[in-house]
């Protein structure tokens, strides 16, 4: 089966001051098909999509649609050509309703002045039916879960009747069931002849859904072919130039004694019920404990209770067998617990501060005598950790915001390790970082465990879970619904446990 080429980039080069983001790429976008785009962070995927969406313009080369060169000088131009994009970072207004968000800047009006709310609401309901989501058009977007917000973002571009739809990591916050629905919608759009560009770091997902694949490395295309016969190894080779996925490698080492225990941790949910429902677990030194569950299972909330972010949380926390009296974050950190939060940007880093200042933020006491801070010692320690964690930076004085996702994550890990923790809590440590950096993060986790650190990590990625965990705990609806030794755990068991208490309703067939 062949597909028409709807959009082409020929000899596309994009130069930013100091870097070449794209080096003479030739890209074909086929209509009625899913064009998958992969590459490490900074490989040029986003730049290429920004060019297509009219956000950025090529320095050299041209964009052609249906064989004719086109000028895309702004998002308006792109929209006129039927190009829609769902950015990785959600561009929604939390203070407006779902319907208002979907029709922002394209409001349905009577006489161009009066907004026809009823019509917008109705159109929104139709879109939500199509996406099989029961989201009320009048809900404030800020009140929705991240996954639901992503659905709204997708609905927004569906509402524009785009001929070409770019989805940049659309599934990063969706649960497995939501992903299935999205895939059905994509299949539906394909049938209607829409050309879809799909960017994701989840390789299995790409292989499943893609018709064509384009791999980018350092701004150049290193592989472009139809998806037939493509496997993960091929993609990884094209992405990083070698077949390596060695984060699965086991380093065998004995576990120490119990280093951490949580008993009956509870956290009330705003609006009734429990977000964390009497969760208990133990962890030995040198052990990696994987916590799996669907979105909203209470995993992140549990970690937040442990670090002391919720003062009204109940339960007991023990480190090295001693119960912690302190309920503050500072106290918990001093007792040997460290958290690497899920949301790097808002919780993990102070973007405006330098790399050095971010790394040492939790452990300034170590460089301080009385009031006085020894900046030389601080720099020395940072240099040491930068080397140990192989953070790629030009200068530790640059703002942390200038780093790529993977390097930012390493800065956060460095910050946690500087507090000399006994227990490391990691919430989705691989979220939003490329596969090369991912492998390094996982290697670091293994190494730390081998050095005797206890690690609890939360993940939604089954493969990661299976590859890294020594023991697996599954959570659902705030409760622990499964506790497996790695030897006994199978994907089926884990998934079954993660659905417990959910009364997984069979998904309705899309309305004809």
């Amino acid at each position: 089966m062949t597909h028409d080429i709807g959009l082409q980039i020929r000899g596309g080069t994009k130069v930013y001051p100091g870097t070449r983001a794209l080096r003479g790429v030739d890209f074909d976008l086929r209509m009625g098909a899913v064009n998958v785009l992969v590459g490490e962070n900074g490989a040029g995927k986003s730049t290429m999509m920004k060019v297509i969406a009219g956000v950025e313009q090529l320095t050299e080369g041209q964009v052609m649609m249906d064989g004719r060169p086109v000028q895309l000088n702004g998002t308006d131009d792109a929209r006129r050509h039927g190009i829609g994009i769902v950015f990785q970072e959600l561009n929604l207004f939390p203070n407006m309703t779902v319907a208002e968000n979907i029709f922002i800047n394209r409001e349905i009006t009577r006489g161009r002045i009066d907004i026809d709310m009823a019509a917008q609401r109705e159109a929104t309901r139709a879109l939500m039916r199509r996406l099989e989501h029961d989201i009320d058009p009048d809900t404030m977007v800020g009140d929705l879960r991240v996954g639901q917000q992503q659905i709204v973002e997708i609905a927004k571009s569906l509402a524009q009747d785009a001929r070409i739809l770019i989805l940049d990591e659309p599934t990063s916050a969706l649960s497995a069931a939501e992903v299935e629905i999205l895939f059905r919608v994509i299949a539906d759009l394909k049938k209607q002849g829409v050309g879809i560009v799909y960017i994701s770091h989840r390789l299995e997902e790409l292989i499943r859904i893609g018709d064509y694949i384009t791999v980018l490395r350092d701004g150049a295309i290193t592989g472009a072919r139809s998806m037939e016969g493509v496997d993960v190894d091929w993609i990884v080779r094209a992405m990083i130039g070698e077949a390596s996925r060695d984060f699965a490698k086991e380093i065998d080492h004995p576990y120490g004694s119990e280093v951490f225990r949580a008993e009956d941790v509870t956290l009330p949910r705003p609006g009734g019920g429990l977000a964390v429902d009497h969760v208990s677990m133990t962890l030995r030194a040198g052990e990696i404990l994987g916590v799996y569950g669907l979105m909203g299972a209470g995993r992140s909330e549990f970690l937040e209770c442990v670090i002391g972010r919720h003062p009204h949380a109940g339960g007991r926390i023990f480190v090295d067998g001693k119960q912690l009296r302190t309920r503050t974050v500072a106290g918990r950190i001093r007792s040997g617990i460290a958290l690497i939060p899920e949301d790097r940007k808002n919780d993990g880093l102070v973007q405006i501060l330098s790399i050095r200042e971010n790394m040492t933020l939790s452990s300034l006491g170590a460089f301080t005598t009385g009031f006085h801070m020894d900046l030389g010692a601080e720099r020395g320690t940072v240099r040491d950790f930068v080397r140990r964690l192989t953070v790629k930076i030009a200068s530790m004085e640059n703002p942390v915001s200038s780093l790529s996702g993977g390097n930012q994550q390493k800065v956060v890990i460095g910050k946690a390790l500087m507090t000399k923790p006994k227990v490391l809590l990691m919430d989705e440590p691989s979220r939003g970082i490329d596969i090369g950096a991912k492998a390094e993060v996982f290697r670091t986790m293994r190494k730390l465990a081998a050095e005797g650190l206890g690690i609890v990590f939360v993940t939604s990625d089954m493969e990661e879970l299976m590859a890294l965990s020594d023991r697996i705990i599954v959570m659902s609806n705030g409760r622990v619904t499964g506790d497996f030794d790695r030897k006994d755990a199978t994907e089926t068991l884990v998934i079954a446990a993660s659905a417990k208490g959910h009364a997984l309703t069979p998904l309705k067939e899309p309305a004809a």
Binding site: Q351, T368, S401, S402
Partner: protein
């Protein structure tokens, strides 16, 4: 290839030079303003004028230092002008009457005790601000706007709106030295300037070399992130507002000592000058960024500008307009610097 390389190197080089110039812009502005008035206003460079001018600047600089910490932490303190007024009245009352216990008994204080009590009042009001902001969750703008009114009203109530005159003190109680705060000289410099130097050095030290200072920046940059890193956010906020209150109390003392009188309307709109000096010195209103040194230079630019214009005989209406324009220009240039700085950093990180 070599061409491209040298091109980029040149670009980076000129960008770096531009960045250095931009970073020093307030200082350059100060030199320009100085040079201009040295030509345009006779006697501008005389020692006497310099001393008078730096006394004026000092008042604003004190408030601006406190304000800088507050703004870096992501807040704002509108109450400082009123604290100046109230603290001045407290000082005046203590010098004139002491504390009346009734039945003809009263406690009298010497100068040091008076200073300590007044400073305590300033710190206490700052603590009230911080309490409202951290424990009762009132937005800093509103909380300090409230204390602005309360303190101003309280200052008026002290004397029914009248001035406390002749704060000469009483040698018997050891309060006759009160006048020296504003009038005394040490090594040829007014005492208030020495106080400013000490406070500025302490503040700069806190900002750059203590964990407390680092935490102030972190709280302003990302409060949630700072809290999750173990920073005691509320404690930091208490510190910045209390410190700001302390600075305002010092100004209250100095003003009433200089005038040998305290008037309840003293300090009106001082908070705006303090904010202006901080912003002029490169402090970002969105928090997380700013330097004490920059603020001092900013205070000098504003002070020199207004005194110089007075000496040139420019009408006070025009002075106000010019001051406003300078502030806006400063922020515009600041934005340009931010952009350039981000670009240079990105280049450096991408180029390796």
């Amino acid at each position: 290839m070599t061409h491209a390389a040298t091109d980029t190197a040149l670009q980076t080089g000129s960008a770096n030079l531009l960045l250095v110039l931009l970073k020093a812009r307030t200082f350059i502005a100060l030199i320009l303003v100085f040079a201009f008035f040295a030509f345009a206003a006779p006697n501008f460079l005389s020692t006497a004028n310099m001393v008078i001018m730096s006394k004026h600047v000092a008042l604003n600089a004190f408030l601006a230092i406190g304000m800088t910490f507050v703004i870096i932490s992501g807040g704002i303190d509108l109450s400082v002008g009123s604290i100046v007024g109230l603290c001045g009245m407290v000082a005046g009352w203590l010098v004139l009457y002491g504390i009346d216990l009734g039945l003809g008994w009263s406690i009298q204080f010497n100068t040091v005790e008076i200073c300590l009590i007044v400073m305590g009042v300033g710190v206490l009001i700052g603590a009230v601000n911080a309490f409202l902001i951290t424990k009762l969750n009132v937005a800093p703008f509103i909380a300090t706007l409230g204390t602005l009114y309360v303190c101003r009203g309280a200052a008026m109530l002290f004397s029914d709106g009248r001035t406390f005159p002749n704060l000469n003190g009483n040698p018997e109680y050891g309060s006759d030295t009160f006048r020296l705060i504003g009038a005394g000289n040490v090594l040829g410099l007014p005492i208030s300037i020495w106080m400013l130097i000490v406070v500025a050095l302490i503040a700069a030290y806190i900002a750059r070399r203590t964990p407390l200072g680092r935490y102030i920046y972190a709280v302003g940059g990302n409060e949630r992130g700072a809290a999750l890193s173990g920073v005691k956010v509320n404690r930091i906020k208490f510190f910045v507002y209390m410190f700001s209150g302390l600075c305002a109390a010092l100004v209250g003392l100095i003003v009433s000592s200089q005038l040998v009188a305290s008037h309840p309307a003293t300090g009106q709109a001082f908070e705006l000058n303090a904010i202006a000096a901080a912003v002029l010195g490169g402090t970002s209103m969105s928090g997380g960024r700013g330097r004490i040194g920059g603020t001092i230079v900013g205070a000098f630019v504003i002070g020199v500008l207004s005194d110089g214009l007075v000496m040139m005989g420019v009408s006070s209406f025009w002075q106000t307009v010019i001051k406003g324009l300078v502030i806006i220009a400063a922020v515009v240039v600041d934005q340009a610097q931010q952009k350039l700085q981000a670009r240079v950093a990105l280049q450096a990180e991408a180029g390796k």
